[in-house]
């Protein structure tokens, strides 16, 4: 890990980030022929490789959608697995074009890191995973517990705030990768494993006996997860932002991967604008007229991606909750394509 960040640091120092050229991310990607996408080192549901090296997940679908919009080919991607600690340095140095790695949107990350969040792919919150045998029913009973956490995350700070705020003592043991953290939890080094709730459900599947562990009801923080791009290239910022919006809008418009070909022939004005049969909205983004079609054809709409990766169609079985559309009881809301 240390070596990676050292190399990346030197890369920044040596100016490989190429400040003036940063405004041409789209051109650079097209010249290179692949999109470089920063993902996790393996988090089921969000970004995880299978035994053949194919990446899947909600975060991966964002990258696939961008690649589809740019190249009309969702496979032209180089996935760069990053630890929580190295992810921002990789983005700053230009090693990746977009960071889509269950990253929480906070003010300091939006500003001082030299990067921008483009939207929220998943509304999450921090929770606690404990062994059932401890007979703990609430996070407020965790005083004097040992807590395993992954270093370089907002989780670490929320944890300190929560225990301090409730006048509880605790011991924190921080590891670099999620795998090491879970291993230490399973070995009994800690009583509690804390992370974003979605991640707790995903990691629980990796434990030898998932049924022996339970996620406590308390959610102690807001964790809006979303993709990030570098400061200084508004065109690229728009493309990544509207790729997610397109997926959310598609769900609202009822466009799915299956019916996309039929819907493209529709006469409805909002669909005609989205599909580019009326106007040139895609070209305004710096893409092609059929950008919307390409995205939905490749990965489907937001709801489909959610169900396939983390929802009812997956092992994780997470309900939509906050991540449902705004008109269905959730808070996922995308500005109109017009």
């Amino acid at each position: 890990m240390k070596r990676v960040s050292l190399v990346l640091t030197l890369a920044i120092a040596a100016g490989l980030a190429a400040g003036p050229a940063a405004a041409q991310t789209l051109k650079t990607i097209k010249d290179r022929g692949t999109l470089s996408c920063g993902v996790s080192q393996g988090l089921p549901g969000f970004s995880t490789p299978d035994d053949k090296g194919n990446w899947t997940g909600l975060d991966v679908d964002i990258c696939r959608a961008i690649a589809a919009a740019v190249f009309n080919d969702p496979t032209k991607i180089k996935f760069v697995p990053l630890s929580a600690k190295d992810r921002f340095t990789a983005l700053q140095s230009g090693e990746i074009d977009v960071l889509s790695r269950n990253t929480t949107w906070t003010l300091s990350r939006d500003t001082a890191l030299g990067a921008n969040f483009t939207g929220v792919t998943y509304y999450d919150g921090q929770g606690f995973l404990v062994k059932k045998s401890l007979k703990v029913n609430s996070a407020l009973e965790l005083s004097s517990a040992s807590v395993c956490v992954q270093t370089g995350t907002t989780t670490e700070q929320n944890l300190a705030d929560y225990f301090k705020g409730n006048n509880m003592k605790y011991e924190v043991i921080a590891f670099t990768s999620a795998d090491e953290t879970v291993k230490a939890y399973e070995a009994g080094r800690c009583d509690v494993f804390t992370s974003d709730v979605s991640q707790l459900y995903a990691e629980r599947l990796k434990l030898s006996n998932p049924a022996d562990h339970v996620v406590l009801p308390e959610v102690i923080s807001k964790e809006p997860l979303g993709p990030m791009v570098r400061h200084g290239d508004d065109q690229w910022f728009d493309i990544v932002k509207w790729t997610l919006f397109a997926m959310v809008d598609a769900e609202e418009l009822g466009v799915t991967q299956k019916n996309v070909d039929d819907m493209a022939k529709s006469d409805k004005p909002d669909l005609k604008r989205a599909f580019g049969t009326d106007g040139n909205l895609g070209e305004q983004l710096g893409l092609t007229k059929d950008w919307f079609y390409r995205i939905i054809k490749a990965v489907g709409n937001y709801g489909e991606s959610f169900d396939r990766n983390v929802g009812t169609g997956s092992k994780l079985q997470i309900s939509r909750g906050l991540n449902n559309l705004w008109n269905k009881g959730g808070i996922q809301y995308a500005p109109p394509i017009r």
Partner: protein
């Protein structure tokens, strides 16, 4: 007609020419100046370019972040620390933890290394084979792998806090570490510490006096009974006069963990064990080479004087061997210090973990933090080298005298 004395060529210019240009003369000097200029220019370009890029992307830079609140906790800290302290404090916590591991590791590595080396040279077949096997096994396995082995093996074998292994109800061993009673100072603590100090100083003086008597007058004085008496008797007497120096606070199971007492976390244990056994394998070979480098005639001469094998080693062979041992031994000490940065893999909060890890990803100021961290390791290494050079200098002086 007077012969004018030829003035000698300017010594200063000559020396300068030799120092800077070597045999190449002034041409060499010019070449070196050009080289330094190019190097400076490259350094300047890197600096300016990095600053311009950071500014254009509006990435925060500078060292102001050190005064910001860290907002996260650390599992082991020898100095008072809480989440509301600054990043400077985090840096110090990490630094102290790194130094702690290095010092303990160096101590045990040296002790184990010497024992294994002597074992390998032992005439006893079994002892020398066991020592040889140790060296070959340990030094040929990657250090990170050994760390994970110790950490996970230690953890997996130990029970949880509620089923702790208890020694006399005073010491407790579980998968959260080793918990020992912590001493709490009582009124007799001050005089007790003074007594200990006095005893140590007196012992050192006594030892020096005996040495001088031996070298100058040839009188051998047995000092160890006096030293033992001083070190144990004096503090004991003080405790009798002034009362108990400290009370022991016994650890008690409370909630999930033990409260009270001092806890040695398993991460520290695993790290120290892995680092010291690994480095000891190399030190053993260095020590063995050093001892073999001393001519065997020295050993034979000592034995023929009627000294025992141990005395010959201690008085004749090892002092000479140390001259060969010290430089490569320094290398091993430096390696151990640098290897301690692998601690991050097993969750020990060293400098790389809390500062170049957590602090870096929270502030995003990679260049500053990596520069500081590299500076610290450089300083630690140079300091170790300096101490060892000083020792080497003293040693060679005493051997020449």
């Amino acid at each position: 007609m007077s012969i004018e004395a030829r003035s000698p060529p300017s010594q200063f210019a000559f020396r300068l020419k030799r120092a800077l240009g070597g045999r190449a003369g002034w041409g060499g000097v010019a070449l070196q100046i050009v080289f330094v200029l190019i190097l400076t220019w490259i350094g300047y370009e890197i600096f300016v370019n990095a600053r311009a890029n950071l500014e254009s992307q509006r990435i925060a830079s500078g060292f102001g972040f050190l005064n910001n609140t860290a907002g996260f906790d650390v599992s082991q800290s020898l100095i008072p620390y809480s989440g509301s302290d600054t990043y400077t404090r985090v840096f110090l916590v990490g630094l102290v933890n790194t130094i702690l591991v290095s010092v303990i590791g160096i101590f045990f590595a040296t002790v184990i290394g010497f024992i294994v080396a002597l074992g390998r040279l032992s005439p006893n077949w079994l002892v020398s084979r066991v020592a040889g096997g140790y060296v070959e096994l340990i030094r040929n396995l990657p250090i990170l792998f050994q760390m994970l082995f110790w950490y996970l093996a230690v953890l997996a074998a130990l029970p949880g806090p509620r089923q702790s292994i208890s020694l006399f109800g005073i010491f407790f061993l579980n998968n959260r570490g080793l918990i020992v009673p912590s001493p709490i100072g009582e009124p007799g603590f001050g005089p007790f510490m003074i007594a200990v100090l006095v005893a140590i100083v007196a012992s050192v003086i006594l030892h020096r006096y005996a040495r001088r008597q031996l070298f100058q007058k040839g009188i051998a004085i047995k000092v160890w009974p006096y030293v033992l008496g001083l070190l144990i008797g004096l503090p004991f007497l003080t405790a009798l006069v002034f009362g108990m120096p400290f009370m022991l606070e016994l650890p008690q199971l409370k909630g999930f963990n033990f409260a009270g007492g001092v806890r040695v976390i398993p991460e520290l244990v695993a790290l120290v064990v892995a680092l010291s056994t690994y480095t000891a394998a190399f030190i053993a070979e260095i020590v063995r080479a050093g001892i073999l480098a001393v001519h065997k005639g020295q050993m034979e001469a000592g034995l023929s004087l009627g000294l025992g094998r141990g005395s010959v080693l201690r008085l004749i062979v090892i002092p000479q061997a140390l001259r060969v041992i010290l430089p490569p031994l320094t290398n091993q000490y430096l390696n151990l210090t640098k290897n301690s940065s692998l601690a991050v893999a097993i969750g020990y909060p060293d400098l790389v973990s809390v500062f170049a890890g957590t602090t870096l990803s929270q502030t995003g100021q990679a260049i500053e933090i990596i520069a500081i961290t590299m500076g610290v390791y450089l300083a630690l290494s140079l300091l170790t080298s300096a101490i060892m050079s000083f020792y080497n200098w003293r040693l060679s002086r005493s051997l020449e005298a």
